[in-house]
Amino acid sequence: MLEKGKISPRQSGELLFITVFATSILIVPAVTTSIAAQDAWLAILLSTLPGFFLLGVLSWLGGKHPGQTLFQYAETILGKWPGKLFGLLYVWIMLQTAATTTRQFSDYLSTAFMPLTPLSVFTLSLIFLSVVAVISGLEVIARMNEFIILLVVAFLMLVMVLALPNWEPANLLPVLAHGLVPVLRASATPAVFMGEVLVAAVLLPYTTRPQRTFAAGAAALLSAAFLLAAGVVAAIAIFGPALVSVFRFPLHMFVRTINIGDILTRFEVIVMVTWVAGVFIKLSVFLYCASLGLAQVLGLRQYRPVVFPLGILVAVFCFLFFENIVEITEGIKSVAPKVYAIYYLVLPLLLVIITVVREKIFGHKFQAKRQ
């Protein structure tokens, strides 16, 4: 086995949570609010549905192939070479997601805090940290995450509570003024992030009680969606939907409004710092999944050698994929949902269909022995 460590279901749930939550809180509020206005929170809650679907599919497949990751059972189901191609597709999307994540966050840092610092400083340092973490193994990432998740969630909660005096709840009304259509349209973007529970396909076999992972993942997804929705609700209540969709990073603006007695104020930097930690975990998870997947596709005995090159690739993609911040946000609005729909919905469904067809029609048995 490539990975000897084991994580608990709780840890894997926490990893899924941070994976979904870390960057979505940056990007999603503005994008969803620009389409669904004050109903953005509803769009976010709706967007968990594809996430649940994916999680269900992955758990089902994982249950059929205990001890195997997506990359391994793809080969079992599809055959050796198609399976490897399939695996490479997923390695690709994971690298792409890692690159997008890094770029989004670096752009945020650059826009809001250090406009003069070259972007490469942020991307390279983040990727470097992730590479070190990935080399240290899944257990280490999961343990770190137990600290970092506390930090991220606690600070977000704190910020939302402190901003309460600035709320104007009337901004959230009327509910569903324009019907359900804009809400559905707006839920496409958060769905891209909710679909990131895809990494459960890799974490599942390394969890101590795999059958519990669905519950943990579902809890993670739900809590991420609720927190995200709470963030959006807070932003809308403070700024009104029109202003939120104007902002590039509404949560950042939102933290800036906090002023309690001239003392509890000006802590957007601290919030930024906690987000760095969250994004670092997310990046590590994706880099880990990509590295492990690639190692499994190539049939290597250890995944460590591919981590560094993949890290460099992520750095290259960071600069290659996006010219500017507009491409990122517009891409996430229009192109990304379609691309990710293929990876998160179509391809997993394909695996399920082929499994069912082979089992029911050709009488294969996929109940593999536990490794």
Partner: protein, 67 residues
Amino acid sequence: MIILLALLLAALFLIAIVETAPLVRQKHWPELAAFLFLWGLSSFLAVAQFVGVNLPNSMRFFEKILP
């Protein structure tokens, strides 16, 4: 610019040295091959990106093929 390029190359080679040494010691040849291939690819891309060569952007590709 030249200094930065030199630094980049130095970093890339340092990574290569650090990673290959244990692989050679353990005689993990497939891993070594995979590493060298990936390392070559990513280093090439990184240097090309740094020098300013226009590389194909897969995002554009997605934008084209998707409705």
